[in-house]
Subunit: 244 residues, 2 copies
């Protein structure tokens, strides 16, 4: 029999945004692998499964563990926060799966932080948008700044993942300065922290304010296009359905 590995996006938070498709796959699983924090949330819900965890930076090890177990015949899940296909594990699993021809991999999508964070702020992503990670752990920093600049030039709404970490405290400020060459300092921006978790916070502010705002790796940042506005307490990018 072929082994089976599900790569599952749990959505943000603790399961309120996890789809029935994802839940049904997890119910079948004998083994659930993932980054420690996310897997903790599932232990109560799936008490019969065996849980495999590795810390944040050991992605390849975590994926190989899951593929090995699937190859041995256990129905296995690799879980990711948000969507497994957006800065998650889906890509690496598919690359490594070439070495495990007996394992059938199925990717199950989840709600990514761009969509969940947008819903908290209002409707910032109603028009064309670019999603960029400011983490340079796996990407050349020059390419990141180039993308930020081109997205700014194209008047895309910009959604930034991983805006800061202990070692990248000033990256968001740098991104704001680049964007500020093309957009007003009054551009409407927003950020959401700990989406879907206890202690979720959000705030709408100007690009100028955002430049000096402290953020961390649990924050998702939204930078409005030239048409994004603050409507009541919401950040909204009108799509043009109204005659304006």
């Amino acid at each position: 029999m072929k082994g089976r590995l599900y790569v599952i996006g749990m959505g943000p938070g603790s399961g309120e945004m996890m789809t029935p498709q994802a839940a049904r796959a997890l119910e079948q699983c004998q083994v659930i692998a993932g980054y420690t924090v996310y897997v903790e949330l599932l232990k109560e819900r799936y008490p019969k499964a065996e849980f495999l965890t590795t810390p944040m930076t050991r992605e390849e090890e975590r994926c190989r563990m899951a593929l090995e177990r699937a190859a041995q015949g256990d129905i296995t899940a690799m879980v990711c926060s948000g969507d497994a296909g957006v800065y998650g594990m889906a890509g690496l699993i598919l690359e490594l799966a070439q070495e495990y021809p007996d394992v059938a991999v199925e990717i199950i999508p989840g709600i990514t932080a761009a969509c969940a964070g947008a819903a908290v702020l209002g409707a910032p992503l109603m028009h064309d948008f670019a999603v960029i990670s400011l983490s340079d752990r796996l990407t050349d920093l020059e390419l990141i700044w180039k993308r930020v600049e081109l997205a700014a030039q194209g008047d895309f709404v910009i959604c930034l993942y991983n805006p800061a970490s202990r070692t990248r405290k000033d990256y968001l400020a740098q991104a704001c300065r680049i964007i500020g060459q093309y957009r007003s300092p009054q551009t409407v921006c927003g950020l959401v922290r700990q989406i879907g978790r206890e202690g979720q916070e959000h705030r709408i502010m100007t690009l100028k304010e955002l430049e000096n705002w402290p953020t961390d790796m649990f924050t998702t940042v939204f930078i409005g296009s030239s048409s994004t506005r603050k409507i009541g307490s919401c950040m909204v990018t009108p799509r043009g359905y109204r005659c304006e």
Copy 2:
């Protein structure tokens, strides 16, 4: 008492990807409004609700109907396919809601076609990406082409919504030609049609092949970056976790 209006992303398809958060909100609703096709899918599941529908192009009318009913005290939902915040109704509802100060609006996110389609193809969105709609019904065509060109220059993976309609048969070809100025004709591309519905189809092909491929408004298109590859039968954009 304040009226309540939920703006709900159902995810693609018929409910398998709709979150528990969305389902719980719908269970409470006395009135469910939406575009005819999507609402049909919900009639069986929520038999007690009253359903309000309008055809595709009557967005403002549909939103006002929902806001009116919420203002009258009915717990009301406006449902959208995919995510209500990505080319959906969330923005227009929030704009119009200014005229209905007694209605509290809550946006409930859903899985958008970019994420659901990516999962069908493999993992094309593992790295920075741009989402662009090729519909010029509400957007200036020049701005669309400018964004396509800048996204191509930035080596973003590009996800195209609304790649074609009866009156825009050649827009995808035009987008491919613009992108072809910056990327090889062999660039790995993919498309997914009727995501999550019966008759779902997908195909991986080169940028050159995509240029002449017939598409429609039920199709989501993915154009790889320079690092996107075909791995087995999947479209994958490696993130760089492996030492390559």
